[in-house]
Symmetry: C2
Subunit: 328 residues, 2 copies
Amino acid sequence: MPENASYQQIGEIFARYDSFVIMSHVRPDGDAIGSQLALGLALEAAGNRVRMINDDGLPDNLRFLPGSDRIELPPTEPLEDYEVAIALDTATKPRLGEASLNAASKAKVWLNIDHHKSNPRYGDVNHIDSSSPATGEILYKLITALNLPLPDASRDAIYVAVSTDTGSFQYPSTTADTYLMAADLIKRGLDVGKMNSQTYDSHPYRRVELTRALLNTLELTGGGRVAHWELTLATRDSLGLKPEDSEGLIDMIRAIEGVTVALFFEELDGGKIRVSMRSKDPRIDASDVCGQFGGGGHALAAGIRMAGPLAEAKQQVLAAVCAALPGA
Amino acid sequence: MPENASYQQIGEIFARYDSFVIMSHVRPDGDAIGSQLALGLALEAAGNRVRMINDDGLPDNLRFLPGSDRIELPPTEPLEDYEVAIALDTATKPRLGEASLNAASKAKVWLNIDHHKSNPRYGDVNHIDSSSPATGEILYKLITALNLPLPDASRDAIYVAVSTDTGSFQYPSTTADTYLMAADLIKRGLDVGKMNSQTYDSHPYRRVELTRALLNTLELTGGGRVAHWELTLATRDSLGLKPEDSEGLIDMIRAIEGVTVALFFEELDGGKIRVSMRSKDPRIDASDVCGQFGGGGHALAAGIRMAGPLAEAKQQVLAAVCAALPGA
């Protein structure tokens, strides 16, 4: 496995070429889009030609980010005249999506910058730092180390990338450097209240309606150690929900005292069921339990897509979860 | 109105006396209890006698704070042999509560440290810094400026005080200094993941039941700009709620897109109504609106205690809020 490229080595690529296609993973979150904008707008301010593409485009909830209108769906033809492909925050190459991979297929050099430990270093040049809580923080260090321009829009994008990937500076991955970075971004003019308000305080009303609907299905089992709720197609359609509306809601039931596993069951089109699982107990490996049904993920956060109907999927998965509880 | 005492002048009081009663407001939140522990344990580590009292004692949700068992209900007799009374994070003297005021009534010197702009400087020595997002941050600056000891428990208490009073480093009051402080606390050994998990990820089940009950009363008015919900005594009693269970829940409706004012109406024993008000629009000063009913607070977060019944209080306050909307 190749060593990490240093910031200076990455800087040499930035100096040698002047056209960049910047990508991130499908179903992009704040760190994905924020990282694309942070680096893309910095390279552009340094005089380069930049395209920022994502297979799923820009989610509505990140539309407030300055410059976010620059995030495009990939063109159908390969971008012939872009020399460097940069993958950000994307743990495996296929997670970039087929359309993005096709669009970037003529690049001469692949650069891969990420904070996922499992990243197999699929670039020609790689910088994988799993000690960083967000790819946005790696880019902050890269941009400032290289004295690249840091436009206001890059500054804001870095903040949102790191804030969203640390649960607002809460997760164990947050370090002193993370807080020092935030202090520096404020000194560079970041409006912290406005940025957070736009990130966290502006959910569509239907998200609150969804919360209410989910809470009305909440049940505890496994002696109070397992909390689960469900979303039917009928509720999804009646509330006009978008995929990002449910983001993070499972944290509400994960946070219940005594609960060690939280589950979100969701009916999908075509009769499939999506299950999101969160574990608070290191003795319960969510990816193991999900693996029994063909799913996977991390030890504390995993998921499944399985056959329905909902009642049957719930029964099977809840039985597996209860069997995995310590002492069961 | 007397000037702010400097940290050095406060340090002279700490040097001159060796016994301190440390108080904060009734219905204490993270900044109240965190501030008491931060300063109390630092003064104790410096060799002083310290009592930390609160009319409502220690809320369950802050019991994880190291040293929090030192927070006591006030003794019924005045503390004869404690020289200095210190009020922390308490905007008006009566908010300390009658029992605490009685317990501290024999003190020779009153010290008043707070970040509420409206604080009328009721101490003999006052330090009111409304530019600080939390009293805990003032105490961090005071303790480090004076080179007082900073025991681990004080360090943790400062972090929780500031984190809870800034909505996890999100509110506009958060400054570069706030983030620099957090970085320094981590360098001093703070376990940021553990502290946040204990602060935010362990709510009693009844809090989720409360959320469901509140959501089922949610209404929008003022053309979608005002969101409000309510808690009756009947619901409070049937769910066995404790005062801290509702802390922060109002943020859920404050976050609705298009909403600029969020209100929480709550029936209290004895027929009174408590109103919590949050504004997202700088043009709507929540403390002004609450002031019309004898309440007060900050521009973006204020409250009222007023006569019931609930329906009447709601009607009056909602009318005042709607009249305060821009363009109304």
